[in-house]
């Protein structure tokens, strides 16, 4: 197939499908229903690393998790979730909540929407020894 046909077809096809998915309401992020759901999402990534404490954020889009190995965070990846330990994380508060930079090529930045008080509490919690 000539590139002059293939290229526009691919570009329009990708753009069209993306717009259609958004219009159909399929861009919603995963919501963690409660601490139990956050705990299950954590264990899905780290089986055997049982949470000893789970702090679900108010908008239920993320949770801070404590295990015997340290602190971690669960957050949405589209309609699903993923999780990471916060080892060597650089965490700063910003206008939206917290910004976590990790030395992890597969999850370099995590933006958490927290109100200022909640963000401050999370930062305080993270100062506690794991």
């Amino acid at each position: 197939m000539p590139l002059s046909i293939l290229l526009p077809m691919v570009v329009l096809g990708i753009a069209g499908i993306a717009v259609l998915l958004h219009v159909l309401g399929l861009s919603h992020r995963a919501i963690l229903a409660d601490e139990g759901a956050a705990s299950r999402a954590w264990l899905r990534e780290f089986p055997g690393h049982r949470p000893t404490r789970v702090i679900l954020c108010q908008n239920r889009l993320a949770a801070l998790v404590k295990t015997e190995q340290g602190y971690g965070v669960v957050w949405p990846m589209g309609a699903d979730t993923t999780a990471r330990y916060l080892t060597q994380a650089h965490i700063t508060a910003d206008a939206k909540g917290l910004r976590i930079n990790l030395p992890d090529f597969t999850a370099p930045r995590i933006g958490l929407s927290l109100d200022p008080d909640e963000a401050a509490r999370w930062l305080e919690t993270l100062k506690e020894p794991a």
Binding site: A18, L20, L21, G78
Partner: protein, 327 residues
């Protein structure tokens, strides 16, 4: 030796079909409310990965084709282009694909290229298009070299390879449950391939087939889809990004970071490239064997069921220790 034989570039010609099939699957799921899931950023990443795969083929395809033409010049055999020869080439290429794919899961250097295909937590027709950008650099085209040396023309080998990929497109779906028993027995199907995309311990590293599932049955890597163990799609450690560049290159970056760690022997550096994904010199990670063994140690009642070992508690650590001594 006939150099100039032309076969259609079937993958490019299939692009309109891919788009139409994705729209049909999406509408089916939307209106029926079952048969799979779609999410905008996940699907967009998959589609961009597919476009990138086509682009990388245009950029680097000459390397494999050049190698094949070189082999074609030195082989004394020419099997011609009859329909039977094309059919035979298709079957043998599928056997070759099985081994390329198996290496793709068992050798980290090759996994670095293939991993992106497994990086979606969804399983729909867009997942089929989430393809590698770096396949050329795995050098797995060498496994197709015997076909050329046997007398199958390079253009024919590439043609049947394209047909193989097109076959594999439609099996990336949850809208189709199980097909008639005779078909499931011989062919790769949505059910068999769902298992291949599972991150459940029992489903790791199995069902490598492209078109014919018989290769997995022949070489002992077949695991059936079990209703009691619903497939959980994605990677053992799921990605935290939809950025296509990170999806495409993350395992390569991981390899280079591991290889460049200070204090390793040359053997350990080579092992980080050539051992199965999850291998580490200090046993701080886990290969699929270790994950399966740990799972069985937590669920001893499942020992010996499809995809899971009979291994007793502690076997996981023994496997890791054995891995240390392979290379």
């Amino acid at each position: 030796m006939t150099d100039m034989i032309s076969f259609p570039d079937v993958v490019n010609w299939a692009v309109p079909f891919f788009i139409a099939a994705i729209l049909a699957e999406l509408l089916w799921i939307t209106f029926k409310g079952r048969g799979g899931r779609y999410e905008t950023r996940d699907a967009l990443t998959s589609l961009v990965m597919g476009a990138g795969n086509v682009a990388s083929g245009i950029l680097f395809g000459f390397i494999a084709y050049g190698l094949f033409m070189l082999l074609w010049r030195i082989t004394p055999f020419d099997l011609g282009t009859s329909l039977w020869i094309v059919a035979l080439c298709f079957v043998l290429d599928d056997l070759s694909y099985y081994w390329v794919h198996r290496f793709g899961h068992r050798v980290r250097w090759v996994w670095a290229s293939h991993v992106n295909h497994h990086s979606s937590q969804h399983y729909n027709l867009t997942t089929a298009l989430r393809q590698t950008w770096t396949g050329t650099f795995t050098f797995m085209m060498i496994l197709r070299a015997p076909l050329i040396l046997l007398g199958f023309h390079p253009a024919m080998v590439l043609f049947v390879g394209g047909m193989n990929l097109i076959y594999q497109f439609w099996i990336h779906t949850e809208t189709i449950g199980r097909l008639p028993r005779w078909f499931e027995a011989v062919m790769n199907t949505p059910s068999h391939h769902r298992v291949h995309h599972g991150r459940n311990p029992r489903y790791l590293d199995c069902n490598y087939a492209g078109v014919f599932i018989i290769w997995d049955k022949l070489f002992g890597t077949f695991v059936p889809e079990l209703d009691e163990d619903k497939v959980d799609y994605g990677l053992v450690h799921n990605l935290g990004t939809f950025n296509p560049l990170r999806v495409a290159f993350h395992e390569w970056v991981g390899i280079f970071r591991d290889v460049l760690q200070p204090g390793l022997s040359w053997r350990e550096r080579a092992q980080y490239c050539l051992m199965p994904p999850g291998w580490s010199h200090d046993n701080s990670r886990g290969t699929s064997e270790v994950i399966k063994a740990r799972y069985v140690s937590q669920h001893p009642e499942l020992a010996g069921t499809p995809g899971l070992p009979h291994n007793p508690i502690g076997q996981a650590e023994k496997i890791n220790a054995a891995h240390k001594n392979v290379i």
